[in-house]
Amino acid sequence: MIAMSFEPKVPQKDLDYQELRIYTDEELQNPSDEELKSFKIKYDIPMLEDLESGPWPSFVADLKVEALRRRKMADDRLLINRDVVEDLLGQLEVSFEDGETHWKHGGIVGVNGYGGGVIGRYSDLPAKFPGVAHFHTVRLNQPSSKFYKSAFLRGLADMWELRGSGIFNMHGSTGDIILLGTFTEQLEPIFQESAHHLSNDIGGSGSNLRTPECCIGKARCQYALYDTQALCYELTMHYQDELHRPMFPYKFKFKFDGCPNGCVASIARSDLSFIGAWRDNIRIDQDAVKGYVAGDFAPGGGSHSGRDWGKFDIFKEVVDRCPSDCMTYEDGVLTVDDANCVRCMHCINTMPRAVRPGADTGLSILCGAKAPILEGAQMSTLVVPFMKAEAPYDNIKDAIDRIQEYWIEEGKNRERIGEMIQRIGLPKFLEACGLPVMPQHVWRPRENPYIFWKAEDVPGGFERDIDDYRKRHAR
């Protein structure tokens, strides 16, 4: 059974580049290497040119290709300043010289009806670098796990070269496709052209839900414990209003990791981290275990093959490294005390052919990660240990709604949910979400006994009569 299929929530335009295209083959022809080698942009950029060498792909070399392309375009084939790329490089060189950025804060730009999706940016040297006087970015929502068809990317490249700088971030830190640098006038056209012809929305900045992001999961990973792509898409579509129209105290991010390996770093980067989990037993193929011991298979699928680490030693490399000491290997048989396994993935990562996660799978929900500003960096805290994750995911939506509703009510302006939890304490947060507490919520019980008892916890409450007390104790 195919777990997923093409089930978009809104109609999707077919993608045929020959139909989509803006530029002719001739216009798409890049300048030759000879031309490029002798090409100087209109500013001296010796420091940047130093970055053209070296094995790693050089963004300076790449931007020069784009700069020269723009020089050759006909006037009506570019809708913003022809020199935008050269001016960007020129300003960057000046920033190196000054040791200071030359961007001003953005101000109010955006598209009508949306509270996010555009980051405004203006140069503080507009007279010198008019091509980047405005240099706003547009966040275009990325598809789940970032597979693409070339027709889409080619269409996007044409549209963006015409209407903007032609420069992308693939991708921004939150996951979006970032269109880097255009003038205000082109924001609405970019938004609507993407929507009409590429069936793709913008959005995901501001005190909104940010564009959710997921790992590659079931598309190409044997460890995926739930369908990260499907859940990511489902929730992105379900929360479109939250994504586009600010209704939160601050930004809010969802990220989806299919297993505790955490390839999209949800535990460090999202207000709600959804991390795959299983609740039955690890599946072991004993013959394959013997294969690893005999050296037939490389540990970690060959992840360490660049160095001679000696013969595979199942004790040293697996059994003794298990953080909860729950594995044994005796008489050629590997056993796991599943009740004590903390699902760290180490044995599975090390012997992928022999050890697989359990089959009764779902996810854990953790809450509250954020970068240091203001009250220090936080990682997400375990909230829900296990939850089945199957379409239409109503249980997950319900859990999210409970958490977000409380945050909207209780969170202060510009307070991330993790900061709110720190302010009010985990017990209060859990109670508000209708969740009981468990020892798994903490690493250890508290060390101070400053328990904030509530009146209703104590027989008779807090109201007492001093006269009654005085009957027993002299003043």
Binding site: P8, Q12, N30, L48, D50, L51, E52, G54, P55, W56, P57, D62, V65, E66, L79, L88, L92, F96, G99, E100, T101, W103, H105, P143, K146, F147, Y148, A157, W160, L162, R163, I167, F168, G172, L180, P189, E193, A195, D201, T211, E213, K218, R220, C221, Q222, Y233, C263, G301, G302, S303, R307, R321, C344, M345, H346, P352, R353, A369, A371, P372
Partner: protein, 395 residues
């Protein structure tokens, strides 16, 4: 109908709501999957790294998909986007994928298609000689560095991002193309404390940092910002209301409180922090975010300041390379950098990496006490002998 080349395209400024499409989300992912991925969705059994940068995933249907991972520049042009598409069209039926760490993955459905693909990727170069698609970034090595905007686009950076990453990846290139380390080593870069990339859980993190308090633009502050907002923005309450001699409302700053977080500037453009001498780089190390063996942990500050030496940041590159080499030579198999440092003790980490331990590295912000060593368990290093000497305990 295709994309428009007219000035406003599908948007009609006279009638902005006409045919307006909103709230459609990203494209659905399914038709972006190569057919072999669609056929084997959720059926993968195991994978192997055939060589650095080349993976095979084997499905229970018996099918195998081969992936070649190429290091990517996060910032790239339309011209380069088309180069990517050309490779995808020639070898992968037009499909391509990007990874969380900004690499580019090309997938083929048979072993025979692998060699021609690799060959093309290896031979594609920019006019200046840099590779366009270096193959690597798998297993126990160093994959691409995630980074933020820096001087390319942001108003608060304390350093530049794309240039530092290019310089570092050139220096660490051998680790990108090999799998010789004890475990994965993740490097991340953010150009200010906002950490758009959330670098605080990386094996090695590079962070732009301001070291001078904001300049107060007294003349304009009240015009540009709301004073209560400015005061509230500061996490250490360093601002208080004030009036200029001319009677203009402004704020004053207790500079000794300032931790250079830049939050005030984020709230108010009349409080710029950037400064050529002041700004530079903090190096952190020992974080991780997978749950493998040990739980995720934060990175720790190991070098309080390095200068912004554009464009190639030699001091920063040298420190990072040194740490990587010492780690590679000393850690056990599967041991992440932070786990190694904890096992040998941070005092030994500083000794082995020959990094000076300065007072800046001891936490004096909130909750600092947790990091103080309330035990007699420690190891002796030169740094310890120096303290004993200063205390008059030894000659």
């Amino acid at each position: 109908m295709g994309l428009s080349s007219t000035r406003f395209g599908a948007f009609d400024p006279e009638n902005p709501t006409k045919d307006r499409i909103t709230d459609i989300g990203p494209r659905h992912f399914w038709d972006f999957f190569p057919p072999i991925i669609q056929r084997n969705y959720g059926k993968w059994l195991y994978h192997e790294v055939l060589e650095p940068g080349v993976l095979v995933h084997v499905s229970e249907t018996g099918e195998k998909v081969y992936t070649v991972r190429a290091g990517g520049m996060r910032i790239l042009s339309s011209a380069f986007m088309r180069d990517i598409c050309d490779v995808a069209d020639r070898h992968c039926d037009g499909y391509v994928r990007f990874t969380t760490r900004n690499n580019i993955e090309f997938l083929v459905d048979s072993y025979e298609k692998l060699e021609p693909l690799k060959k093309e990727l290896e031979s594609s170069k920019f006019f200046s000689g840099s590779l366009k698609f270096p193959i690597g970034g798998t297993g126990a090595g160093i994959t691409n560095i995630v980074h933020t905007q820096g001087y390319i686009h942001c108003h608060t950076p304390a350093t530049d991002a794309s240039s530092m990453v290019k310089a570092l990846m050139d220096d660490l290139f051998e680790y990108f193309q090999s799998m010789t380390l004890p475990a994965k080593l993740r490097v991340s870069m953010a150009c200010c404390l906002n950490m758009c990339g959330a670098v605080h859980c990386s094996d090695v993190a590079l962070l732009g940092y301001h070291r001078k308090p904001p300049i107060i633009d007294h003349e304009f502050l009240a015009k540009m910002c709301e004073i209560p907002t400015v005061i509230a923005s500061c996490p250490v309450a360093a601002f208080s209301p004030a009036t200029t001699p001319e009677g203009k409302k402004t704020v004053k700053l207790k500079v000794e409180r300032c931790m250079f977080c830049g939050n005030c500037y984020t709230m108010c453009a009349a409080l710029p922090l950037s400064d050529k001498e002041g700004d530079g780089i903090v190096v952190l190390a020992g974080g991780k975010l997978s749950n493998r063996i040990s739980p995720p942990k934060f990175s720790k500050v190991i070098v309080p300041f390095l200068p912004n030496n554009f464009p190639r940041f030699p001091e920063t590159c040298e420190v990072v390379k040194r740490i990587v080499e010492v780690y590679a030579a000393n850690a056990n198999k599967y041991e992440r950098l932070g786990d190694w440092a904890e096992r040998i003790g941070w005092e030994k980490f500083f000794e082995k990496c020959e990094l000076p331990f300065t007072e800046h590295l001891i936490d004096d912000y909130r909750l600092q006490y947790d990091s103080y060593r309330t035990s007699t368990q420690f190891k002796y290093t030169d740094a310890a002998w120096a303290v004993s000497k200063a205390a008059g305990g030894i000659e």
